[in-house]
Symmetry: C2
Amino acid sequence: MLDTQTPPLMIATMAAEARRAAGQLARLSTEQRRAGLRAAADALRAATTEILAANVADMARGQANGLSPALLDRLHLDDQRVAAMADGVATVATLADPVGQVIDTATRPNGLVLTRVRVPIGVIGIIYESRPNVSADAAALCVMSGNAAILRGGSEAVESNAAIHRAFTAGLAAAGVPPQAVQRVATTDRAAVGAMLAAEGAIDMIVPRGGKGLVARVQAEARVPVLAHLDGINHIFVHASADPTMATRIVVNAKMRRTGVCGAMETLLIDTAYPDPLALIEALQAAGCAVRGDERTRALISVAPADDSDWDTEYLDAICSVALVEGLDGALAHIARHSSGHTDAIVAADEAIADRFLAEVDSAIVLWNASTQFADGGEFGLGAEIGIATGRLHARGPVALEGLTTYKWIGRGTGQVRG
Amino acid sequence: MLDTQTPPLMIATMAAEARRAAGQLARLSTEQRRAGLRAAADALRAATTEILAANVADMARGQANGLSPALLDRLHLDDQRVAAMADGVATVATLADPVGQVIDTATRPNGLVLTRVRVPIGVIGIIYESRPNVSADAAALCVMSGNAAILRGGSEAVESNAAIHRAFTAGLAAAGVPPQAVQRVATTDRAAVGAMLAAEGAIDMIVPRGGKGLVARVQAEARVPVLAHLDGINHIFVHASADPTMATRIVVNAKMRRTGVCGAMETLLIDTAYPDPLALIEALQAAGCAVRGDERTRALISVAPADDSDWDTEYLDAICSVALVEGLDGALAHIARHSSGHTDAIVAADEAIADRFLAEVDSAIVLWNASTQFADGGEFGLGAEIGIATGRLHARGPVALEGLTTYKWIGRGTGQVRG
């Protein structure tokens, strides 16, 4: 039984099975992978009763263990949520297939024809917390891109995840897609996470999905490359030239539409030459946002002081730090010092100023005259995202199917030898 | 003085300086970066006397320390080698600039215009051994792609590297390119390498250039992402359908043209249905190659036995392991087990067989009817390479300027907020 193996041996065994399945998956046609996902979606719908029963057990245990209402809400499934999960899988089945895409091709002077072709990465580990839908979402993205997945969900969702995994892989199998392509770590032993993080060469990439604590642990411990973002300390700079109505609308939306998403604005930078900074601050307050200001802000309006740590804090709440800065250069300096490299925006009518901001702010996503809440794979037209990455290698910003591929060089010759 | 700092503090200070310079570099125009490299090439030429004098000192110390003739040859510089180094830098200045290239662009239904644009990675660490020319080659590739470089060469080349670095950065400065963009770790303390490998967040990527011992240490210790290959255990499979003349020419070239390069063939797999296996083996022997065979090979010809370790050995020498395999499936199974994921080739007239090989062999480079010795950025038309990568993320195969970039998402709106 798996549970009697040591975690490293268990993960090695799973990863080897996943690697074999990935090889088979990579040789399936696009239509075969699509059919597998449609069948998985159908199987999830057909298993709604079992999935909800499993979720009832998880919820009962969670309540007994005193999970917070927020955690219980993330854990909770109902008919609509299961249907949405199945719909999500079916939607992934409709996305453009990156596998086999030709990135570029060239004929060398010696006649060798070189082509760079996208291929799956191989084996992707997904480590997540209480949301059971990640089991289906992440598995669907991996299978569509020809990768095998090793799923390790949170212990609080163990029954729900097991039921989802069972239905999903049964669907794959029914459509002739190897069910071993989606592996689930059944044990709730935290050492299994450590074994995944250490599985260099066996797991090609780890995607953590969850809170900052999880991401920080994964980033600190992993020997396997990690695709993630730790923080979304996102700024909006309102330049002197900004249209005041637009600026207010964008700032309020960026902060208050949903405060708990990684694309939410956390710090508002207002140009000292902006005509009406008070209107921005009062609009945030009117929307229910607590404002913490630097000294110059507090000279304008009585708000709580922002201390040094505020500029490096992702509130994920109805709280906003506000600083007045000297023009674009002041904003660039603040952002260079405090941005987490996720999403930063400028509101300005002056296009030359905006272009400098877009060029010089070194973040995964830079926006002009738009809300930071657009930082999302779906909004970017990628269909669905496996996550948002703030690292500088491989993939950056919202990562979807393309980010789950690598490439190989294929050379076709007619007997060429090197001189 | 730098040498009195602890290695981590020294590297942190250098990396911070490099980061600032990278920001300036990224804002220079293509032509300004090209001009900087042309000036660096000129400065190297003008400093030939000093560089050679420094090299004489390194060579004398190397001889006194009993370095091997092969190492001394790598260390040695003369007029031609300095001229070639300068020419190499000038050539990099002519390559297509990846910075600012638009990868793709799309207008979203809400009017937001999204563009993915290539940008430099930031700060690249180069850790290398006795070849002093790497100082100039790697620095040129980094500067052309808008990155700052931190160079850490081998202790045996310390004087040569210092002279090259002095000339190179003086050239940059003369052309208005910040010389801080190319930092050199002056100390020969090996702890400096450890500090570079641990400098997560401060150094964005490490490229080791040197022997397997160096690469293995870097891969084992690094917390910073590493772009490298450890081994080039490259196979050629000669299929039953191969043209015998072509097969012999390719096999001999792949093994014997240069035996010490990472693209050299190490294992020859011959289809049991290939009509004349002896001709292939005898051609290798005639070219001076020692052949080690599996049992089936030794039933045909008296050669040394290949033991289990041979299939996992990169000889980098005039030695070749030979196995007879059962058709394409036999070859695929052998390669899946023993390939290092670098370069593998098939010789076949049967295109369907070749296509299966190209699709199913999971290596960075797969070739049909061509010598594995083409595994090289120059031969691939990339101009010059920083290295060859066998990892699966970011860049794979020969890595040149494009592999030294990442991208950012730029969104241009007209006041869009998310619903």
